[in-house]
């Protein structure tokens, strides 16, 4: 059992948890994930580790309450325990002195890119973080990102904060203004990571995307998280989660990631019907 020590609601449907897991925290590095299962009938879901505090023995991660499990989690309180947390899984982000690194975080993905920005900044890189979301209130961790980035730029779809448009608009403008970029890392919705990859491919800027496909065991046994990278089959849990974004078959991944949407909908509706008014939740696409 893994006890929830802190819980905050940072944006509509976005929750931050600090969980007691000293052994995992002791080993976790930027870019890795855990798999959690909240109770005996629960599913195993992969969640990016957003911070690991070795001193306090805690892990921080974010959950967006969009499906049955995440809504159930959003109702858990400080003092409650998560049944299973296993990790740290996946490979850590490559952290070296690359020069100038652009970190693109979309919506919920901002939480996942924060530890990578921090590690890259600590290694002496110039880090430019581009954060994007549909609207202002979904821009997460702006101050935290400012603390670990040389520069932060913001875009919102509706123009309610930062510049109106997409993260790729800002990235394109930077490239056209001859900002020298040595590496790009993007984490966010698949369509965003694909757009980033399509853009930087033209300019041959090394670009990595952190993928979050369907996963069950997360330790290299089930093969559900397979993804085509450069015409080769890779497994996100043991080969990833970060891959050369120029080589990733995003279309195939998008198709597979959406395959359980009807079942997810059924599960969520059943849960909401059985659970007396948990909270007012609006539908949000999670891909």
């Amino acid at each position: 059992m893994f006890k929830i020590l802190e819980k905050d609601n940072l944006a509509p449907q976005v929750f931050r948890y600090v969980v007691e897991a000293p052994e995992i925290a002791n080993k976790a590095e930027a870019g890795q994930f855990v798999i959690i299962r909240i109770d005996e009938t629960g599913e195993r879901i992969p969640i990016t580790i957003c911070d690991a505090n070795r001193k306090s023995g805690t892990l921080t991660f974010f959950v967006q309450a969009v499906g049955k499990t995440s809504i159930e989690m959003s109702l858990m309180q400080v003092g409650d325990s998560i049944l299973d947390v296993v990790g740290p899984l996946g490979n850590q982000s490559e952290i070296e002195r690359f020069g100038t690194v652009v970190l693109v975080g979309g919506g919920f993905g901002i939480a996942a890119i924060h530890p990578i920005a921090q590690a890259l900044s600590n290694t002496g890189n110039k880090t430019i973080s581009i954060l994007g979301a549909r609207t202002k209130e979904l821009i997460l961790l702006e101050n935290e990102m400012k603390n670990v980035s040389s520069e932060v730029r913001i875009a919102t779809d509706d123009g309610s904060y930062g510049s109106k448009g997409f993260v790729t608009d800002i990235l394109k403008e930077m490239i056209q203004n001859n900002v020298v970029i040595d590496r790009v890392i993007s984490i966010g919705p698949l369509v965003m990571m694909k757009a980033v990859a399509d853009l930087t491919r033209q300019y041959e800027i090394p670009t990595f995307a952190s993928l979050n496909p369907i996963m069950i065991d997360g330790t290299g046994m089930c093969g559900a998280c397979r993804v085509t990278v450069g015409n080769e089959m890779k497994f996100a849990c043991v080969d990833g989660p970060e891959f050369d974004a120029h080589q990733v078959d995003f279309e195939g991944l998008l198709n597979r990631l959406g395959s359980y949407l009807p079942e997810e909908k059924e599960s969520k509706e059943r849960y909401l019907k059985e659970t007396p008014a948990p909270c007012q939740l609006e539908p949000v696409s999670n891909i």
Binding site: R226, V238, Y260
Partner: protein, 475 residues
């Protein structure tokens, strides 16, 4: 039924068939197919054993169960004594009595089988284990005095559990580290409920815990701890690696990323470990397919096919195998069960592409095969006939072609030598010692995919090596 006591009837009476659930009925439920023997049936079957002085059956058993000894006890009606006799060599008899390929092991060597049907050793083993469990007289074997030595077992599958039991009985402190949230390995996530009820597995695991073995779940060695950390920081004197098979093989043909395509591992894990057949009561779903095609001919393929058949929406299951019925690597009992349940077998066809519409599988494109001469493995070589394309309609494809290795541990320890495919190499095959001091390994991670009992055999062998090794250490 004491009149059959030690009669050595051999072939004078036919082999006793075990009770089974009706095929029509069972193809719609997940309850166990084979219902085993009644005490009278067990005694009758035991009376067929010739109680050979130099039993060949024992040599066919990877863990060397004293077969005639326990069968003699069965014929005398001492079922509890028989169960304890089996447990001297085999820590999971209710499991192996159900999943061992006895026809290729103990029963293959049975003298009664030379001129008829061999003694049903597997069914007897199952009977005594079940009898002991149900009658609540499961006594613990004598555990040796504590040695003060600590042993880490990585992976709670057949190899690890077997090694752990032997080591605990010798008085060592044993901790098993399991990556998943449930111990059992393939016995839990792979072998379906209708072949090995989870309740039985849990009872066997409970027995191991009563031997003093600790099992830590959710613990991925290689990630949360390295082998060196286990030995240097956590003071384990030796480590046994039994992490089993790893990444599933796919066909490497177009269309494998379509929706509705699974590895057998994924399909079985969803259903067995995650209870997808009870969705939405359990959160993990499996798609509502009507037709499921399974590619492969081994036990896992048969398990996947028969599991698919039991899902509520599935109307038809097709098994696609590139050779013919004679070459199927699966146990004949499983093949017969599958046939009786209505699985459609498509022999001599080999997939070349998976076709789909709107991202979902619609059919498998295959070529027809012909069999040639036996190759070095003794199996007849299969080759494609020209212009022999066929399309097999299906909305799901489960690929059961075996697995490669899991790279997590060897990746985290440079001293551990592996072969070109990533299997851990054993430097001393007599005791399954690896190239790293104090580290032993056994099961699929060493040999590649094999059987439950061969992994248990490797676990026992390593346990002996580990015992000798730790007792030679001066602390």
């Amino acid at each position: 039924m004491t009149d059959t006591k030690n009669q050595k009837l051999g072939n004078k009476i036919p082999r006793t068939s075990a009770l089974e659930q009706d095929p029509e009925e069972r193809s719609k439920n997940f309850q166990e197919v084979c219902l085993g023997y009644t005490p009278a049936m067990a005694q009758l079957e035991a009376s067929r054993c010739l109680l050979c002085k130099k039993p060949k059956c024992v040599l066919g058993c990877p863990v060397r169960v004293a077969i005639p000894d326990f069968i003699k006890l069965v014929s005398e009606g001492d079922f509890i004594g028989a169960a304890r006799k089996v447990k001297e060599a085999n820590s999971l008899p209710a499991v192996t009595g159900r999943v061992c390929p006895q026809e290729d092991q103990c029963e293959k060597h049975c003298v009664v089988g030379l001129k008829g049907e061999p003694v049903a050793i597997g069914k007897l083993e199952r009977f005594v284990a079940d009898y002991e469990r149900v009658h609540g007289k499961e006594a613990l074997e004598k555990v040796a005095d504590p040695t003060g030595k600590k042993i880490a077992i990585v992976g709670a599958g057949p190899a690890g559990l077997s090694a752990a039991a032997d080591l605990a009985k010798r008085g060592h402190e044993v901790v098993i580290f399991e990556a998943l949230h449930k111990p059992g390995g393939v016995l839990f996530y792979g072998i379906p409920e209708f072949r090995l009820p989870k309740e039985i597995l849990e009872a066997e695991l409970d027995y191991l815990e009563r031997l003093g073995i600790k099992i830590k779940v959710n613990y991925v060695i290689g990630k949360i701890k390295t082998l060196d950390e286990l030995m240097k920081e956590d003071n384990f004197d030796a480590v046994f690696i039994g992490t089993g098979a790893g990444l599933p093989y796919f066909l490497d043909i177009p269309g494998e990323n379509l929706n509705g395509v699974y590895s057998a591992n994924e399909f079985l894990t969803r259903v067995n470990l995650m209870h997808a057949w009870e969705f939405p009561v359990f959160d993990t779903p499996v798609h509502a397919h009507k037709i499921v095609a399974v590619v492969g001919g081994g036990n896992t393929a048969l398990d996947a096919a028969r599991t698919a058949l039991r899902l509520p929406t599935v109307e038809k299951v097709k098994l696609i195998y590139r050779r013919s019925r004679d070459e199927l690597p699966a146990r004949i009992e499983e093949v017969e069960h599958a046939e009786a349940e209505g699985i459609e077998f498509h022999y001599l066809v080999s997939p070349v592409a998976i076709k789909g519409e709107n991202g979902w599988t619609t059919s498998i494109q295959c070529v027809q095969m012909e069999l040639g001469e036996p190759d070095e493995s003794g199996r007849r070589h299969a080759h494609a006939k020209e212009d022999s394309e066929v399309f097999i309609e299906t909305d799901a494809v489960v690929i059961a072609l075996g697995s490669g290795v899991n790279p997590l541990i060897s990746k985290s320890s440079s001293e551990l030598k592996t072969d070109s495919k990533g299997h851990i190499e054993v430097a001393d095959p007599d005791v399954n010692l690896t190239s790293k001091k104090g580290v032993f390994a056994g099961g699929d991670i060493v040999t590649g995919a094999a059987t439950v009992i061969s992994a248990m055999g490797a676990g026992r062998k390593a346990a002996k090596g580990i015992h000798d090794y730790v007792m030679s250490l001066t602390k």
